[in-house]
């Protein structure tokens, strides 16, 4: 390659490479914390692109969005500006796993986020291809673009998504490409490799987009949004949205379709071995589903709108790497898609990622100062997972430059903490998706109390506006005083009261009982006991919900708090990052190697490394105890 002429193009505190969901949160956090920030993308039209499914939220992911919001991030606010359908999932289950998921208008989501970036003081938007990160003595100095521009900076956040050495696969055809027809980022991958980074290949896939008019919806089950719209952002609670919601549709694959897939399996690069990248198990291609669940006669397919201003429809559940002509043939065997017209084909994309165990829990590289990584490059999948990492990386880049203490959330504080701890601790070999089951303490980590958990932290960081902080504090106070009040409201066993109880299918009371205790009955709740509580203050839905949850699940929450205490004990047993585990007798060889690799910062983190067994942890605990005793002895002498 010809030597490019370099020139100094500017000076920034923080430069974020990539303007996907991780990039925008990182850039906004840094800028909002007062640092001179630039966000760079290969194409300004791809800012906050929803390149795959048109949804935000869902189980686990919805929790992340709420947490990002509580900390002063943008994702929740932006989807509240651009959603076209809203549903709360899991409502038949407990409040801890209720999950908000909405359909996004993709274009609108992009446009609204771009506006936010454009209007942010301290933030510069720049379309350019970053081809190198400039380092000096293992410290970040700047970035170099393809046109030779050198931007000096103190910290860099790499949020390259699926662009880094992206390669698209459609059947036997494959070529270097970013997602959805964008250019790939090849030179940066080369540069990182030259610096000694070990890059691995991950894979993800997306289904076809089809023309709305070519679908027979009469054969499908309609899936409308919820009547009551609950927003994502805590700032929008109680707001009247007044939008007409777009429905989605449920339909099924057929045996005939499965037959076509089986017949053409050898033409899929996944099966012929052309793709090295590992794909996510929970988001399998249709080929995978048919092969792995061979006895299943049909699979679900959801038809979802891509936006209000387009007739493109997303065919959820049918991502594929089969050749284009096979794709069309098999899609036409889906019920209702007999005459379907493709607008964009399904494809798989393979991209470079790092092994995130080289990162600290701030998402900073362990050896290279001020180099941060966020999003898919860390081995995660999903918009929400990316955004959460972007936020944490942006915050910590800013804190580093300010010379302040890092910001780390632990597993008992937030799903974000679980996500990042998993990424930097466990060697995941497939793209990581957030799920509620990954969170040990989900009864306390609810999506409805994310603000109560995190907003104060966000405020201290300078990310949360005065208004948001005030709202949260008021909410906190209202919940507390209502809980206190309910403990004092006594219900007497009068005839009228018992009639009301009976009408609610609840056993009459013989002795006076507080309203607080009555709410605990499984068949009762806060709202339906209103007839017994004439002096009840008018409270917002979100506050009523908190009150009810706190009362009804008090026992379980207490149990979980005890688990958390236990967890903190191990988390507080710190391990020296320079510790040589080969020196510790009794550890298994595998544990020694893994521990030396990852260098956990606490016994708690060590216990989550795969290959480190409880016996190894016991050895570590004994080692620490011996060391402590020895040190104490030395001090005494």
């Amino acid at each position: 390659m010809k030597e490019i002429k370099k020139f100094i193009a500017g000076d920034y505190d923080v430069i974020v490479v990539g303007a996907g969901h991780a990039g925008v949160e990182a850039a906004l956090a840094s800028a909002r914390m007062g640092l001179n920030t630039m966000i760079m993308t290969m194409n300004l039209d791809s800012i906050a692109a929803l390149s795959c499914n048109p949804n935000i939220g869902g189980t686990g992911k919805g929790h992340l969005v709420r947490e990002i919001d509580a900390l002063g991030g943008e994702m929740a606010l932006n989807i509240d500006r651009s959603f076209i359908q809203s549903r709360m999932l899991n409502t038949s289950k407990g409040p801890a796993v209720h999950s908000l998921r909405v359909q996004a208008d993709k274009k609108k989501y992009h446009i609204e986020m771009k506006k936010v970036l454009e209007n942010e003081p301290n933030l510069t938007l720049r379309q350019a291809e970053v081809i190198d990160v400039l380092l000096e003595n293992d410290e970040v100095r700047g970035v170099l673009t393809r046109t030779g521009a050198v931007y000096n900076c103190k910290a860099v956040v790499l949020a390259t998504g699926t662009y880094l050495r992206g390669r698209v696969f459609i059947g036997e055809v494959n070529y270097e490409s970013g997602p959805d027809g964008m250019f790939p980022s090849i030179l940066l991958s080369d540069a990182l490799k030259a610096k000694g980074f070990k890059l691995r290949r991950l894979k993800t896939g997306t289904p076809a987009r089809v023309h709305r008019d070519s679908i027979d919806f009469s054969k499908m089950e309609i899936q409308p949004g919820d009547e009551e719209i609950i927003p994502f952002s805590f700032m929008n609670m109680g707001k009247d949205f007044n939008i007409k919601q777009e429905p989605c549709y449920l339909t099924y694959t057929t045996e005939k379709m499965h037959e076509i897939i089986r017949k053409n399996l050898h033409r899929s690069p996944m099966y012929s071995g052309e793709i090295d990248g590992v794909g996510p198990r929970y988001c399998p291609s249709i080929e995978d589903k048919v092969v792995r669940f061979a006895d299943k006669k049909k699979h679900q397919v959801f038809i979802e709108p891509e936006g209000l201003d387009t007739k493109e429809m997303y065919v959820q559940g049918v991502s594929s790497t089969l050749p284009e002509e096979v794709q069309l043939e098999m899609y036409r065997e889906i019920i209702g898609l007999e005459n379907v017209q493709f607008m964009r084909s399904a494809y798989a994309i393979e991209y470079d990622a790092i092994d995130a165990t080289i990162l600290k829990r701030t998402l900073e590289h362990k050896e290279i100062k001020n180099l941060f990584f966020a999003g898919q490059i860390n081995g995660s999948s999903g918009y929400e997972e990316a955004a959460a990492q972007g936020l944490i990386a942006g915050i910590n880049a800013a804190l580093n430059i300010k010379g302040e203490e890092p910001f780390i959330l632990d597993r008992s504080e937030a799903y974000i903490g679980v996500l990042i701890d998993d990424l930097v601790t466990k060697k995941t070999d497939e793209p990581y998706r957030m799920m509620t089951s990954r969170a040990e303490y989900r009864l306390t980590l609810r999506q409805d109390n994310a603000d109560l958990r995190l907003t104060e932290k966000g405020y201290k960081l300078g990310l949360v506006t005065e208004e948001r902080y005030r709202r949260t504090m008021e909410k906190k106070k209202a919940i507390e005083s209502e809980l206190e009040r309910l403990k004092k409201v006594q219900i007497n066993p009068t005839k009228e009261n018992n009639q009301i109880l009976e009408s609610l299918n609840s056993t009459p009371i013989k002795n006076p009982m507080t309203l607080y205790d009555l709410i605990k009955r499984p068949e009762l709740g806060y709202d339906i006991l209103k007839p017994l509580d004439p002096d009840r203050p008018e409270l917002l839905r979100e506050i009523r919900l908190q009150v009810e949850t706190e009362i009804k699940y008090e026992g379980y929450i207490k149990k979980q708090m005890m688990q958390i205490e236990q967890f903190k004990k191990l988390e507080n047993k710190k391990l020296d990052p320079d510790l040589d585990y080969n020196e510790i007798k009794g550890l298994s060889n595998e544990a020694k190697q893994k521990l030396n690799d990852i260098k956990p910062d606490s016994v708690g983190q060590a216990s989550r490394i795969s290959g480190v067994s409880p016996s190894d942890i016991n050895v570590l605990l004994i080692y620490l105890e011996q060391k402590r005793r020895k040190e104490r002895k030395e001090v005494n002498e």
Binding site: Y556, P614, S615
Partner: protein, 457 residues
């Protein structure tokens, strides 16, 4: 550091073993051992018995004629290089060999240090390490077998069985929560209830053995009760005569409590002979009486002795009151003397209890008593051999916690509480059980265990 200790019980025995463990085991062995045919022990001799003498090289004096075995790590008890020297029994010879070993570079092992090394070197998991401690502390052969069973992982296997059910339940609950859109089978309350019941039953079954486990380890708490001169001491002596007494803990006057450990066909008894229960002004005797009442409260079995040659007194009636709702055997002693009341009379007072007529002084009925004791606690000896018996208090406590949690889960399942709440109890239960096998890390566990190592060998 290479350690050494005498590994057999101190006392008269055919052989005594001195054990050495650590890097320098072989080197030390060669300093003290002179083989008849073997010039020098080397790795080729690993796990072979070599005949020769222990010789103090300073004065070339032979200490003992021995068999020696070198065992190359890591396939040894401690996973380190080990040497065992089989000396002639008796304290003097073994002691001298140990002294010589220590003089040649080994350090005297702390109590439990071999086991500790075995554990630290990953040779044993927690439950196994504890079993070793139990084994060391086992007071009878039967207890020894139970510990051995646990050592082989039979507890771990049972626990794993229960944890597997719990894991399935948890996985099913998680899947329902995380994939509400997928057409996977929703978890049903009926299904959860069925499985929770299974878990509960299995835990209960293990717990049932816990009491027996304690009995096996500490001995069955057996209290002999009766007014003065009914023949309590004679009874105790009769049992001791026929069986091997193990320890005499508290020697004292007849007014105090006498504890004896005795082994009846492998079942350890801790027999407590009490002073008679009666109102007394004598302070020494008063203390004895109070302690007798306390022992009765803690007793696993009461043997109440009545003198059939005397009329029943107030004290006898008091005793009848005490034993009425306790596990007890009634002895009508001095049956060879003229009877003052009948067996059926006392049966009518005391209800459905086993009554044995004895003359302890002339040895009548003692065997019947012993057989009855066995029958009462074990319905058949075979069961003891094959059962996994929980002998460890920590295990028992964890099982109790696990039971509490599964009961709570069961209760919630029956009340249709949301599954994510139920899961909290299921997870706790899973963790409780994991702590027994050491699969769950409990930060406090180690303190508990290592405090026990100091008791062992």
């Amino acid at each position: 550091m290479t350690i050494a200790a005498i590994s057999t019980a101190v006392g008269e025995a055919g052989i005594g073993i001195v054990r050495i463990s650590g890097k320098k085991s072989l080197e030390i062995a060669n300093k003290v051992f002179k083989g008849n045919k073997v010039e020098e022990l080397n790795e080729g001799h690993s796990k072979r018995l070599v005949y020769g003498h222990i010789v103090d090289r300073e004065n070339n004096k032979i200490i003992d004629e021995v068999l020696i075995s070198f065992m190359k790590g890591p396939h040894t008890y401690t996973r380190e290089d080990m040497v065992e020297i089989y000396c002639h029994g008796g304290i003097i010879s073994v002691r001298k060999v140990l002294d010589l070993v220590l003089k040649n570079g080994a350090r005297l092992a702390e109590p439990g240090e071999f086991t500790k090394r075995a554990f630290l070197n990953g040779r044993l998991d927690l439950s196994q390490a504890e079993a070793v401690i139990d084994m060391i502390r086992a007071k009878t052969d039967k207890s020894f077998e139970t510990s051995l069973n646990q050592l082989e992982g039979s507890i771990s296997a049972k626990i794993k069985e229960i944890r597997d059910i719990l894991l399935e339940m948890i996985a099913h609950v998680e899947a329902s929560i995380d994939f509400p859109d997928e057409d996977i089978e929703e978890v049903t309350y009926e299904d959860l209830e069925e499985r929770a019941l299974k878990v509960k039953e299995k835990i209960e079954k293990l717990l049932e053995t816990a009491d027996r486990g304690r009995i096996l380890r500490d001995g069955l708490n057996t209290v002999i009760l009766g007014k003065p001169n009914v023949g309590k001491s004679s009874l105790l002596n009769a049992i001791l005569r026929e069986n091997r007494a193990i320890v005499t803990d508290i020697p004292g006057t007849t007014r105090d409590i006498i504890e004896e450990y005795v082994n009846i066909d492998g079942i350890p008894l801790r027999i407590i002979d009490t002073a008679g229960i009666r109102k007394t002004e004598d302070i020494v005797e008063q203390i004895g009486v109070n302690r007798a009442k306390k022992s009765v409260e803690k007793a696993d079995l009461i043997i109440a002795v009545f003198d059939i040659s005397r009329e029943l007194s107030d004290e006898d009636f008091q005793i009848i009151d005490i034993v009425k709702d306790k596990k007890s055997i009634i002895l009508l002693n001095k049956i060879d003397l003229p009877n003052k009341f009948s067996k059926s009379y006392i049966q009518s007072l005391i209800g459905d209890k086993l009554i044995i007529e004895t003359s302890v002084a002339s040895g009548i009925g003692v065997e019947v008593l012993e057989k009855s004791i066995k029958d009462m606690f074990y319905s058949g000896e075979v069961e003891i051999h094959s059962d996994t018996v929980i002998t460890n208090l920590r295990h028992k406590n964890q099982l109790e916690k696990a039971l509490e949690n599964i009961n709570s889960a069961l209760n919630d399942i029956r009340n249709y509480i949301p599954i994510d709440c139920i899961e909290v109890d299921l997870k706790n239960c899973w963790d409780n059980l994991g702590e027994i096998s050491g699969e769950t890390i409990d930060e406090d566990i180690l303190d508990k265990i290592f405090s026990e190592f100091c008791i062992g060998k």
